[in-house]
């Protein structure tokens, strides 16, 4: 079942890649645009730091580590599953039916729908900021901290991916409310790009225990930086991201199935 889905996902992605590459100039421009729009976020942050030395007690390189890891994780999730926010439109205009009659898992089809390689622009930008952070920070590296870096980016991508899937499931019920999903995905990365000390305690509690975005970058990155955790959490929570990601996917999967089961076609 899972293998089937992955194979179908790969085939559909390959199809969209071929179609994207038919218009190379457009591909280059939109990839650059994708890079630039996220880069502007960081430019704005740098302009803030032209007036200040620390924001919420964090220096620019430290914030760059939070920013880079969150942006890369989100970029990877957006690249692989970002098209899922189109589901609401398909429910509205009835074209989801086409996907239902194909002998291929619907989730794989929705995830690969209009696969957009230009989203690599976002991943690239995140990696560059992460690179800048690692070069300019003076971290006392331990083997655990080294392992933490790829671990947090990949688990973070999985957590964001689960949010995308859950958001898509939500659209079975609220067809034109894809913006709600945006507040958790795009809003989530924006939030994670700043240190937790900036935000109100209740907001931090919310993104730790309700929508566990804090596990994407804050907690593991604060471990690497050797800084205090928010909410007096114990040190070991930094190692939870893979567990949290798995849990999120179980929940997202249940939500997806509930949504798919509740789906009624437009009938047209």
């Amino acid at each position: 079942m899972v293998a089937d889905g992955l194979r179908a996902y790969g085939l559909i992605v390959a199809m969209w890649l071929r179609s994207t590459m038919a218009y190379r100039a457009s591909f280059v421009m939109t990839t650059f645009g994708n890079f630039a729009v996220t880069a502007f976020d960081f430019v704005a942050l740098m302009m803030m730091f032209s007036h200040i030395d620390a924001l919420g007690g964090y220096s620019l390189p430290e914030i760059a580590l939070l920013y880079g890891s969150a942006a890369t994780a989100f970029g990877l999730a957006d690249l692989t599953l970002g098209s899922m926010d189109r589901l609401g439109r398909r429910v509205r205009d009835g074209t989801l039916d086409i996907l239902l009659v194909r002998p291929v898992p619907v989730l794989a089809q929705v995830a690969a729908d209009r696969f957009a390689l230009r989203r690599l622009g976002r991943v690239t930008q995140g990696l560059l900021v992460l690179g800048y952070a690692l070069v300019s920070l003076d971290i006392a590296w331990t083997p655990l901290k080294v392992v933490m870096l790829p671990l947090m980016v990949l688990s973070g991508a999985a957590i964001f991916g689960a949010v995308f899937a859950a958001g898509a499931a939500f659209q079975f019920f609220a067809q034109d409310a894809s913006e709600v999903q945006n507040s958790f995905t795009y809003g989530g990365t924006t939030l994670l790009q700043y240190p937790p000390t900036v935000f109100a305690k209740d907001l931090v509690r919310g993104v730790t225990f309700v929508v566990p975005l804090a596990f994407v970058s804050w907690l593991p990155a604060l471990y690497v930086l050797g800084r205090e955790y928010p909410l007096d959490l114990p040190r070991w929570v930094a190692f939870l991201p893979p567990v949290v990601a798995a849990l999120c996917w179980v929940l997202a999967g249940l939500a997806w199935r509930a949504g798919l089961r509740a789906y009624r076609s437009t009938g047209s």
Binding site: Y23, H51, D176, E179, S183, G187, F199
Partner: protein, 266 residues
Amino acid sequence: MRLYAVVAAGGFRRHATYRMATAAGVFTNTVFGFIMAYVYVALWDERPQLGGYDTSQALTYVWLGQALLMTCSMMGGGFEDELMERIRTGDIAVDLYRPADLQLWWLAGDVGRAAFHLLGRGIVPMALGALAFDLALPSSPWTWLAFLVSVALGVVVSFAVRFLVALSAFWLMDGAGAMQVAWLMGLFFSGMLLPLNLFPGVLGEVARALPWSSLLQVPADVFLGKHQGWELLRAYAFQAGWAVALLGAGRLVQTVATRRVVVQGG
């Protein structure tokens, strides 16, 4: 004139039908408003009076940005996709035969859309922001009125830019790239990411002189009472100047482009 009023009303009603989408948009604007508000509090904690704003003025700026994001289409999302699609498919020929001016027709529709978004996606986030934070809301009704005039001018400037971008589809078969560039400029130079008076040196001067500052920075400063008396007229003149210049350019491009359509035939 009546025709365009009807088109504007149509634009308003059309967007008013998407109630769920509007509610979802209000939710998103509010979430982003909260995130940015906390960041600005931290920023102004470090440097009070940064950019000539005190903390409550800076917070007001954040929520104004969320309230005007859709009204002034700082990240696109207006009529331009549709116009571009009509140009690409050739449906534009039908529009040109209508006994209405192409530019005014689309402007009217966009004004209706902007009016809806000001009410539908502007008021609630602003009110929630005012509940949660100490905002610098103007006490004089005249300031509110002056602000609305400035927003209206901002909407026209925003339209004029996007109209030009959409017309580029006459030459570039795929206008997605041009649209994205325009969208990026709008996001960055409107002051949506950071107030333009925090931009350093020459970049700041250039940013404040570009048309996009009419979309958020100028209306926000009018709201915060930074422009009064002659200064207010200067601000209006700046916005109106860009509006006239860009609408004129749009008119010119439209004339050239229309000839092109005739050459291509049906």
